[in-house]
């Protein structure tokens, strides 16, 4: 087993490189991904090594980026699209919902929509508006799409490759606030399947489900809770569509308590879905209602006050307190 330490940004870069080496039909397309290597440098050096035909600087039009990636998919290419920031995916929403999600079905399986839409998502980097959104629920609500979120460099490295290899369209959510955090990457073996959740920390009193940036926040909260004698199990959902419910059910049956943590606003969110599903499946185990610790129901605020919007360790602890408050 060869492991090496790298940032999530580098792990994505290496994962993309490996996918492109393996399969010449893998293309990258997006704004500024060529010479610049993308505003986050995720594609750094790839145009130099794979050429302008495979690493395509796109004119500035997201609907066209996704729409042409659909056409490339019909032609047999697998395009990894980079949306520069979460807030700029909406111009492509129509193509994603009406075409990417539906063409496989519409053609009775003839068209393979093997494309990956990379979405640097969530906040926490002190950016201006539209650069910190959490649009994952829109895609989770859309049949025909798959949605995953990485939270560690190792996952980033493997999940991007698994997404590219997968025949369904994948919305690939990258927690941009974690791009520069380092971790061990195993270059030989994937940690698990693309659509599997992972227990990041075991515990017995409360189950906390999180994804993307919030996994680390949840882990820190678990650490803090341990200090107060509360044993928290932290599950990284990893896949949001489909949700890997089995380990969550196992956990909730053990703990009887559920907290979901997300940066997105609460209403009709992934958190709502997890709570509704687990309530149905673990009704007799739950000793308290599942609670959601979420971004507030407001437009993402100016970043000087974003820390008060994004779930903090304190707010996660508060959520844990709430479920522990039930008998």
């Amino acid at each position: 087993m060869t492991t090496t330490t790298m940032t999530m940004a580098k792990a994505l870069n290496e994962g993309l490189r490996r996918a492109m080496e393996k399969d010449r039909r893998v293309l990258l397309m997006g704004e500024d991904i060529g010479k610049l290597g993308g505003v986050f440098r995720i594609t750094d050096g790839l145009q130099k090594d794979f050429g302008e035909d495979r690493v395509i600087d796109a004119p500035l039009a997201e609907s066209a980026i996704v729409g042409t990636a659909v056409g490339l998919a019909v032609r047999g290419y697998r395009t990894v699209v980079e949306i520069q920031f979460d807030g700029f995916v909406y111009p492509a929403f129509d193509q994603i919902v009406s075409q990417v999600a539906k063409l496989h079905k519409r053609t009775d399986g003839v068209y393979t929509m093997g494309l990956v839409i990379r979405l640097p998502f969530q906040g926490g980097i002190g950016a201006i508006e539209h650069h910190s959104e959490s649009p994952e629920a829109y895609f989770v609500h859309t049949a025909g799409l798959r949605v995953v979120a990485c939270s560690t460099p190792n996952d980033a490295y493997w999940m991007i490759q698994q997404s590219i290899e997968h025949d369904d369209p994948v919305i690939f959510c990258e927690p941009k606030s974690r791009y520069w955090e380092k971790g061990e990457v195993d270059l030989d073996n994937p940690p698990r399947g693309l659509f599997d959740a992972e227990v990041r920390r075991e515990g017995s009193d409360v189950t906390v489900v999180a994804y993307g940036s919030m996994v680390k926040t949840a882990l820190r909260a678990a650490e803090a809770a341990a200090g107060e004698g509360v044993s928290v199990e932290v599950i990284d959902a990893r896949s949001l569509s489909p949700l890997d419910l089995a380990p969550m059910i196992t956990s909730v049956e053990k703990t009887g308590r559920l907290v979901v943590v997300q940066e997105a606003t609460k209403s009709a969110s992934v958190g709502s879905e997890i709570v509704a599903e687990l309530t149905e499946r673990c009704f007799y185990s739950l000793r308290a209602p599942g609670v959601r610790v979420s971004g507030y129901h407001v437009p993402y605020p100016p970043s000087r006050i974003e820390d008060a919007f994004r779930p903090s360790v304190d707010r996660v602890l508060d959520g844990i307190d709430r479920v522990m408050g039930y008998a």
Binding site: V66, V70, Y77, P91, H104, V110, G144, P242
Partner: protein, 354 residues
């Protein structure tokens, strides 16, 4: 002179007319075969309309009036070219070999597709206006990457040409010099809206603003449609980039069978366009210049009749699918929510043909 006039090679009376840049390369047999295509597709279209009136289809979008625009453009395609239609391109589908009954499946509401797009190299209909233009450009970018000598063609209407997706497809086609031909069928109406609402100047001018050639062709003149399209396709395959062809034509019927055109347009307009009928025009040419006899025309008519009968038979035999099929091909690979739904439907006993 590019783009400054309506390109026409055949007058409404069926007289040939000279054009400084284009001349018809078609022999009599070919013209006759174009005529045949037009007669057949019109007849099939009318059959579909009656099927709808009789409750056998949920909806139908007639192409009547646009036969020359579609047969002319469709016949110019090479077998390996790929086409991305909207919802009214029955004539194109015909030239690609799509079985007529398959064209009606979506309108019988038994599928949202209808045929194997890879087999006929003709994509399934796109209902969301303009979406397909971007797919076509993307596909063309794939053709370029494969180093293939193929062209791509896509279709949209005068109304759809206001959509961001169509306009972005122009930006991309120009930027990547994509091997693509855009066929804009300006049939004068987008449901109840006249094309003058979408543009105050001829629509083909748009191409020039994006840096590629655009032409306005008499869309009821199958000779002109064929020649202009053919040259544009050749040019695309040779690396010459995109072309926009505005087929200036008319939607003789309703927008769809749900529409009531008397609410927004006057009879006189329809009458005027009857005099420009694409089929009659070609027939006049064949009779005069190639001395085609009544018997030959009659033969086409009865062939069309037979195909219409066959179509009716096929459509009536088309059952609703088993509802359980809604869970097929949603994903290429298993998805728990799909499986859950399938299980529930089976338990509820809803499955089974209806």
């Amino acid at each position: 002179m590019i783009g400054e006039e309506l390109i026409q090679l055949l007058t409404p009376e069926g007289q040939r007319i000279a054009h400084p840049e284009y001349e018809s390369t078609l022999g009599g047999d070919e013209v006759f075969s174009f005529y045949r295509d037009m007669v057949i597709i019109r007849r099939l279209c009318n059959e579909a309309t009656s099927l709808q009136r009789q409750g056998q289809l949920a909806l139908w979008a007639p192409l009547q009036g646009q036969e020359a625009a579609q047969i002319g453009a469709g016949r110019a395609l090479a077998p390996m070219d790929f086409t991305f239609p909207s919802y009214r391109e029955h004539g194109i589908a015909w030239t690609r070999g799509v079985p007529p009954a398959d064209m009606l499946r979506i309108f019988r509401a038994t599928t949202t597709g209808g045929w194997d797009p890879q087999k006929y190299r003709h994509s399934v209909p796109t209902v969301v206006l303009g979406n397909q233009a971007l797919h076509a450009v993307g596909y063309a970018m794939g053709v370029q990457r494969d180093g293939a000598e193929e062209a791509v063609m896509t279709f949209f209407g005068d109304g759809a040409s206001s959509q961001g997706d169509v306009l972005e497809s122009f930006v991309w086609a120009a930027s990547f010099n994509a091997p693509i031909v855009f066929i804009l069928q300006n049939n004068q109406w987008a449901i109840s809206e006249p094309s003058s609402l979408q543009a105050k100047i001829p629509l083909y001018h748009r191409a020039h603003g994006f840096g590629f050639p655009g032409f306005r062709v008499d869309g009821n003149d199958v000779l002109a449609m064929y020649e202009v399209t053919k040259r544009a396709l050749d040019n695309a395959r040779a690396g010459g980039g995109p072309t926009l062809i505005e087929a200036y034509t008319y939607r003789m019927g309703a927008h769809t069978t749900s529409d009531d055109p008397t609410r927004y347009r006057i009879d006189a307009e329809v009458e005027m366009w009857k005099h420009r009928d694409p089929v009659e025009r070609t027939k006049a040419l064949l009779a005069r210049e190639y001395k085609v006899k009544k018997a030959a025309f009659d033969e086409v008519a009865s062939e069309a009749e037979e195909l219409a009968l066959q179509l009716r038979e096929d459509v009536l035999a088309m059952d609703a699918p088993d509802p359980i099929t809604m869970f097929d091909d949603v994903y290429a690979d298993a998805h728990p929510l799909v499986n859950e739904g399938r299980r529930e439907m089976i338990e509820l006993g809803v499955s089974g043909p209806r």
